[in-house]
């Protein structure tokens, strides 16, 4: 609150260009990541012209579309000052169950897709119940369900796997379909991110979610039903993991019990690199999407530059540290500058 008051005082002062820029940067958390993304894009396109081809940019977006969907749900959870570590297991469980239902011809494609999404919602609701009704800290609860859900995939799979020949073309077609030349997977991710971003920004519930993460005690005091909204956040994360899981099966065709394991790290990395505060209350879906795009772009550039795949993980880790460090440094600088401005 104080920060915003100071920011507007800067607006009124409308001093030098530097101060105005600071005021803009202070409010636009996504600015830093946008600069980083631009830097990477310029550097890589100078090194390999192929990077900027439409095909390649489409490939980048396609490769992160499922991560982006799960990261949207994760953003909602992190905003409430919680975290969902079980996303990889939820995506894997839904992908396998959906594929298995289709393999056994138990359901038609639309029904199986719906069943997959519903399963995701149910898994997310279990997380939400454990956290709210069970009063288990989110990191503990979802570390537990990460293990439980992954174990369930192995139990259901029992050593079998679903391969593309078992799946109806109607299902696999989801991943290859294009609308006006854009792959449906990218459109799905954009639609999910757009709807959730609008909901968080403009709905009463969305603002309450920011309030819970920003100051839980104050949120409680003004009558925001925190517990119910935290439950809802986990349910949303589960539902979106369900969507990502259904699409996972369609995209990769082959689904075994290991599907999407470790995905939680990529999803949380995207959210954190995108400037969503891990302690809740600030950040945006747009930021998380930019985070996912930045990480996807870096992975893609490494491939284009023929760098060894072994460097990939090390560079991902370094990028997370750099992004978070730079974000903290910029925020500290802006705050100090604004405080100095306020004193004058």
């Amino acid at each position: 609150m104080a920060g915003r008051a100071m920011a507007s005082s800067v607006d009124r002062a409308a001093g030098s260009g530097v101060e105005r820029t600071l005021a803009v940067v202070g409010r636009l958390r996504e600015f830093g990541i946008l600069v980083a993304l631009a830097g990477v894009v310029v550097a890589v396109s100078l090194l390999t012209p192929r990077f900027l081809s439409l095909d390649n940019l489409g490939e980048v977006l396609l490769s992160i579309s499922l991560i982006a969907i799960a990261a949207t749900g994760q953003t909602v959870v992190v905003l409430t000052r919680n975290v969902d570590l079980s996303v990889g297991s939820m995506v894997g469980l839904v992908a396998f169950v959906t594929g298995d239902l289709l393999k056994q011809h138990a359901l038609g494609v639309p029904e199986a897709v719906l069943a997959g999404c519903a399963a995701g919602l149910a898994l997310g609701a279990v997380n939400g119940l454990v956290v709210t009704a069970g009063r288990v800290p989110a990191i503990v609860a979802t570390l537990g369900t990460l293990n439980v859900y992954r174990g369930l995939v192995f139990f259901i799979a029992g050593g079998t796997e679903v391969s593309a020949i078992d799946l109806p073309p109607g299902y696999l077609g989801i991943a290859t379909a294009r609308v006006v030349g854009i792959p449906v997977l990218i459109l799905c991710a954009a639609a999910v991110a757009g709807v959730v971003a609008y909901w968080l920004r403009s709905s009463r519930t969305g603002r309450s979610i920011y309030a819970i993460g920003s100051n839980p005690a104050a949120a409680e005091a003004i009558g925001i039903p925190s517990q119910r909204l935290v439950f809802a956040a986990f349910a949303v994360s589960g539902l979106l993991c369900g969507v990502a899981g259904v699409l996972w099966g369609a995209r990769f065709g082959t689904v075994n019990a290991f599907a999407a394991s470790g995905l939680e790290l990529q999803v949380i990395a995207a959210v954190v690199v995108g400037g969503v505060n891990i302690f809740g209350g600030s950040g945006s879906v747009l930021g998380a999407m930019l985070g996912a795009i930045l990480l996807g772009t870096i992975d893609n550039s490494l491939t284009l530059l023929h760098l060894s795949q072994f460097w990939l993980q090390a560079i991902d880790g370094a990028v997370i540290l750099l992004a978070v460090g730079a974000d903290a440094a910029i925020r500290g600088y802006v705050q100090r500058a604004l405080r100095a401005q306020g004193r004058r």
Partner: protein, 321 residues
């Protein structure tokens, strides 16, 4: 606190229950060699759980431990392959572990970044470096003495050597945490870092030291795992962090800091190990066992609170009627 309400009591009961379960499930379970094998396989995770306990008590977390284990294993393989003898190679990888921990510690205490995010980053970074160092290769020619340390027993007993290392470390950690001023500073820091700082505790230095310790002991776990498997690989220890964090939290350490004991964590490590072993003997695959471990974690944390609430709801009713 009431003895019956203590976490350690619950864990002893659980451990007894799992031992009983194992005995029912398989006639081979109550065999000395089985217990020795079970213990040997747990030791890397058990050793990493000790410094992690202190880190979590102080209100932070270190997710990078399993990757530091991998990096240490890869580096040991690389240097030994170059002809660096183990007496020089082992201290070297321990120093690298300490340096990695220092990086974590400085980013958390000096740059003011949340440890969850920092160590998520170094979880990827250290594992990536392990692959950069060793690639997909495995180094599997080791001196006989080194292998004997990994899966040999103390002569004349069934006690595996890594257990000796763990037991000594656990005793030192328990003493430091529960009997010295360092331990009291750790609890104070975890309960209320601000108050701890104002009362003269050098919080930043203390936390940095904990991360260094965690890095160094994860590297030691890497050396032990390399000896036990007789194989240095970049992917050694992948997935360990879940078991380690689960053991610490199951052991009664509060994720918010300021609470927990070494005894609880040691009991939890063995409870998980015995449960997994019993299920293995009953032909349950390790991946499916994770369901039981995860459920155990949730129930153990949620259970006491739920029982308390039911009890207080019950006594409220008696007051009103």
């Amino acid at each position: 606190m009431n003895v019956l309400a203590r976490r350690e009591t619950l864990l002893v009961v659980l451990l007894a229950l799992f031992i009983g379960l194992g005995a029912v499930l398989s006639p081979y379970f109550l065999d000395g060699t089985n217990f020795a094998d079970l213990t040997d396989q747990l030791m890397e995770r058990a050793i990493m759980a000790l410094p992690l306990t202190l880190v979590i008590v102080a209100g932070e977390i270190d997710l990078s431990v399993e990757s530091m284990l991998g990096l240490s294993s890869a580096l040991l393989g690389l240097t030994y392959g170059w002809g660096v003898p183990l007496w020089a190679g082992i201290p070297l990888v321990l120093a690298v572990g300490a340096l990695g921990g220092l990086l974590n510690g400085l980013l958390v205490t000096r740059a003011g970044l949340p440890s969850l995010v920092v160590t998520l980053g170094t979880l990827a970074l250290f594992r990536g470096l392990a692959y950069v160092v060793l690639g997909p290769r495995a180094v599997s020619r080791w001196p006989a003495g080194f292998n004997a340390f990994g899966f040999g027993d103390v002569p004349g007993t069934l006690v595996p050597w890594p257990f000796v290392v763990f037991a000594v470390l656990a005793a030192v950690f328990a003493f430091v945490l529960h009997r010295t001023w360092i331990g009291r500073q750790l609890y104070a820091t975890g309960k209320n870092p601000q108050a701890a700082r104002f009362s003269g505790i050098r919080v930043a230095r203390l936390k940095t030291a904990l991360f260094v310790l965690s890095g160094a002991l994860s590297a030691l776990a890497g050396v032990i795992l390399t000896a036990r498997l007789a194989s240095a690989r970049a992917d050694n220890g992948q997935g360990f962090v879940l078991d380690v964090v689960t053991a610490v939290l199951l052991g009664g350490v509060s994720i918010f800091g300021g609470e927990g004991s070494i005894a609880g964590v040691v009991l939890a490590v063995f409870a998980i190990g015995v449960l997994r072993n019993a299920l293995t003997l009953a032909d349950v695959t390790p991946d499916v066992q994770s369901t039981a471990v995860g459920a155990l974690l949730i129930v153990s944390v949620a259970g006491p609170g739920i029982v308390r609430r039911i009890r207080s709801a019950w006594s409220d009713r008696e007051v009103w009627t």
